[in-house]
């Protein structure tokens, strides 16, 4: 079920009312209700893949129980590796099987050998990269004894399948989300209202920004061979805002929806396009994935300990793995590697933790130096997104060649059904509001809070109306991160 669909507009109020009025009194029943509605939410897309979530849930539940039971290290390690193999195996089969087969065939044909191995017609289950990582975090944390394994299977199943973040994150840690299923939830008016504001802002970013930018980006990237360098640069810029609006919009809707049900999820985006260097960007973009890789891959590999070589190796590993996590295509791997290259000078010179605060904290405007740093970081990010969005490496290089040539100074030309000027204005509005709320958990957390109550509601109403109006003009668009 898509958040931006009529089905969800009917689903959310129905389950909200049932949750708080029918299942409120019994915590176990309320958790069971969450499992049922989460499976319904997922099954709306394709019920056949519900078995996979259930399988992953059962495996990690029993492995968790096993880790409590067995004290011997070799047994504990065996259990941990079973969980890793099952989850990564599922991910590998559904997401990467054809990629490896194709590349094996190509590698052998390069050596003059013809291999006849057929690829399979595999459908990628929505959200598999997210929930497998979430369950893995549970097993690893239990193995490390950071978390006590739960006896309550229903609560664990609810943690794995919790519908707001099931298909596109944030990837919640068991240490944060699981304990919330054991505490009686109370309806909190202020939290719920703030959740609604976050949902509203998420919809604005998804429907008004991402879906309108998508039209331009799709048209321009599809005409790579004929479009000018300047047009391709505009296309890359539109994609830059599309992916931000799309993914951070989804996260906002997911976090806001969770708050309506009395849950607190972690922040996943913290105005990343206002970062002053690439290291800061990665502390602000898809935070739940970056920290997952940091805690479960980078640190176990040795992190930044053990000299420069180890630091460089480990950084490359996590960025390349992170790129590969996004999709079975060389474009994602290059995207990851490129980001590793960007961050490398900062890592080597120990300057990767220069900017831990928000830019221009307590001020209205940044300094010229800060503005320059933000623009440079943004520019580097745009270049990296070209690889992320391209169908293949050749296309990405064609685009870059055209952008970094005199072709850049030719006129921008592309056709679209929506006027570009308006979209640019929406982007500026989004950036303006994001700038004001850059210190908050989400852009509307405090925006307009000191205004007159009626004026504030007019503002919210205008956003809602605008989202509705734009949604009408575009078809329901899937969230990009569903495919990862």
């Amino acid at each position: 079920m898509l958040f931006n669909s009529v089905a969800f507009a009917l689903f959310l109020p129905t389950v909200f009312l049932l949750y708080w009025f029918v299942f409120k009194k019994n915590l176990k029943l309320q958790n069971f209700f969450i499992v049922v509605i989460s499976y319904f939410f997922y099954g709306w897309w394709d019920w056949k893949f519900l078995g996979l979530i259930l399988f992953s849930t059962v495996v990690d539940y029993f492995i968790g129980r096993g880790l409590l039971h067995f004290k011997e290290l070799k047994f504990r390690k065996l259990l941990l590796w079973t969980s890793i193999c099952v989850n990564i195996g599922l991910l590998g089969y559904f997401k990467y099987f054809n990629f490896f087969i194709d590349n094996f065939i190509e590698a052998f044909s390069f050596l003059g050998l013809k291999l006849h191995v057929s690829t399979l017609q595999i459908i990628l289950p929505v959200g598999i990269s997210f929930y497998t990582f979430q369950t893995l975090s549970y097993t690893i944390d239990v193995y490390r004894e950071k978390l006590k394994p739960t006896k309550d299977f229903i609560a664990f199943a609810a943690f794995v399948s919790f519908f707001p973040q099931l298909v596109a994150g944030p990837i919640e840690r068991a240490t944060n989300l699981l304990p919330q299923f054991f505490v009686k939830r109370k309806f909190n008016y202020a939290n719920a209202m703030d959740g609604l504001r976050q949902i509203l802002w998420g919809f604005f970013k998804k429907v008004v920004i991402a879906d309108t930018c998508a039209e331009y980006a799709n048209t321009i990237f599809a005409s790579t061979d004929t479009a000018s360098g300047s047009t391709l640069l505009i296309g890359a810029l539109f994609f830059t805002f599309q992916i931000y609006g799309d993914f951070s919009g989804y996260s906002d809707i997911a976090i806001g929806t969770s708050r309506l049900f009395g849950f607190k999820l972690n922040q996943n985006f913290a105005t990343p396009y206002f970062s002053r260097d690439v290291a800061e960007f990665w502390r602000r973009w898809h935070i739940s994935l970056s920290t997952w890789f940091r805690d479960y891959v980078y640190i176990p590999l040795g992190g930044s300990r053990g000299g420069s070589f180890n630091k460089i190796r480990n950084t490359f590993i996590i960025f390349i793995v992170s790129g590969f996590w996004h999709g079975a295509n060389w474009t994602f791997i290059v995207w990851g590697a490129l980001n590793a290259l960007y961050i490398m000078p900062l890592i080597i010179s120990n300057k990767n933790r220069n900017y831990l605060n928000v830019v221009a904290e307590g001020k209205n405007l940044p300094t010229l130096r800060e503005l320059g740093a933000m623009l440079l970081t943004f520019g580097l990010t745009v270049i990296a997104w070209i690889f992320f969005r391209s169908e293949n490496i050749n296309q990405a290089f064609t685009i870059l060649k055209k952008i970094f040539s005199t072709d850049l100074f030719t006129a921008v030309a592309f056709r679209s059904s929506n006027p570009v000027g308006w979209t640019v204005l929406y982007i500026l509005i989004m950036l303006g509001i994001d700038w004001k709320g850059r210190s908050d958990e989400h852009a509307l957390a405090s925006f307009g809070m000191n205004w007159n109550k009626y004026l504030r509601y007019v503002f919210y109403y205008s956003i809602a109306l605008f989202v509705l109006y734009t949604w009408w003009n575009t078809d329901e668009q899937q969230f990009i991160y569903f495919q990862f």
């Binding site: 109006y469 009408w472 575009t474």
Partner: protein, 345 residues
């Protein structure tokens, strides 16, 4: 909780004012004909694809033979066919083979009789991607009886469409779409005018501009693959299928990349024999036989039907097979060169 629900309810109710007006507007005017399906009050181009499939599902035995293709194929009148068969014109604006497959499967799943198909193809077939159509409301497919209503009832009123509707209400020559009969739009006004004023008619400036949309990009290989799938489906379902290549007006014909055109003709010949009316010939170079640079006149459509279905002898059109295609293409190339030289002079 009560305060929260009260605020939400108020907010949602206020938000519903706009959509309520939209629902009222769409129920009243039904711009695409999908909601009410009343062709007598239909003043704009309805969603013909949806309505025709729906009509056939509701009348599964009324017809058994169908003409499919783009709006150019809409100029072939099923009533003029005298060979056995209950013919219906199932064509619609920019109809594509991949979409025909979907519609045929829908019809077959609903037990609609299908014995014979006449598929008309042209540059639209190998220049338009069906993905473009997924966002276009006049070309939405029929999925089931309830699927489109939500979408069409909440469709944003379009300013231009609103003006068109208002302008057409009192227009005595407004076209009538015979969805529930032949499947053709009925409008004899232009034909009458052309017959009475032939010189003025052919000199009209509209014949200088080719019909070309910004999203036209070559996709010959994909089009041929889709046609092969269509043939496979017909063979499986025991449906007789025949192809014709439409006579494209010279302006539109020359606008395309002729390499793509030749490659399409050759590819199609490898899949099935067909009737070819395209190229630069006595019809396509004469504006008199066209409404504009996209659509040939009904009289030409009927002539094509006579040749293809009834086997009438004619100098217009030729039967193409994989044996004569190379020869035909060479001849066509020569004709194009000759025409361009004449134009220079």
């Amino acid at each position: 909780m009560r305060k929260f629900l009260y605020k939400i309810l108020l907010f949602v109710l206020l938000l519903c004012i706009g959509p309520a007006y939209v629902v009222y507007y769409n129920l009243k005017h039904d711009p695409y004909g999908v909601v009410l399906g009343n062709m007598e009050t239909q003043f704009t181009e309805p969603n013909v694809r949806f309505l025709k499939v729906k009509h056939l599902i509701n009348n599964p035995n009324k017809h058994d033979s169908y003409i499919m293709g783009s709006s150019r194929a809409l100029k072939m009148n099923p009533d003029s066919i005298s060979i056995p068969g209950k013919w219906y014109n199932l064509a619609y604006s920019e109809g594509l083979p991949s979409e025909h497959i979907i519609d045929l499967k829908t019809l077959l799943a609903n037990d609609v009789q299908i014995k014979r198909l006449l598929i008309a193809v042209d540059n639209i077939t190998y220049y338009v991607d069906d993905k473009v159509h997924s966002n276009q409301v006049p070309r939405k497919r029929y999925v089931n009886w309830h699927d489109p209503y939500f979408e069409f009832v909440f469709l944003k009123p379009d300013k231009k469409l609103k003006k068109t509707i208002e302008a057409q209400i009192d227009n005595p020559n407004k076209p009538f779409y015979d969805i529930y009969g032949t499947g053709m739009p009925q409008s004899s006004f232009k034909d009458l005018w052309a017959t009475n004023n032939p010189e003025k008619y052919v000199a009209n400036k509209r014949f200088e501009k080719p019909t070309w949309a910004f999203y036209y990009t070559p996709k010959v290989d994909l089009a041929l693959k889709e046609i092969a799938q269509l043939i496979e489906l017909c063979n499986k379902e025991n449906i007789k299928i025949e192809f014709v290549v439409n006579p494209m007006h010279k302006a539109t014909f020359l606008k395309q990349d002729l390499k793509e055109y030749y490659s399409f003709l050759k590819g199609l010949a490898a899949l099935a024999p067909y009737w070819d009316f395209s190229g630069l010939n006595e019809i396509t170079t004469n504006n008199f036989w066209y409404y504009e640079t996209s659509h040939f006149r009904t009289v030409i459509g009927d002539r094509m039907l006579d040749i293809v279905l009834e086997g009438k002898e004619d100098t217009f059109g030729q039967r193409i097979t994989k044996d004569n295609i190379d020869q035909v293409i060479s001849k066509k190339k020569e004709e194009v060169l000759r025409y361009k030289e004449q134009e220079k002079e």
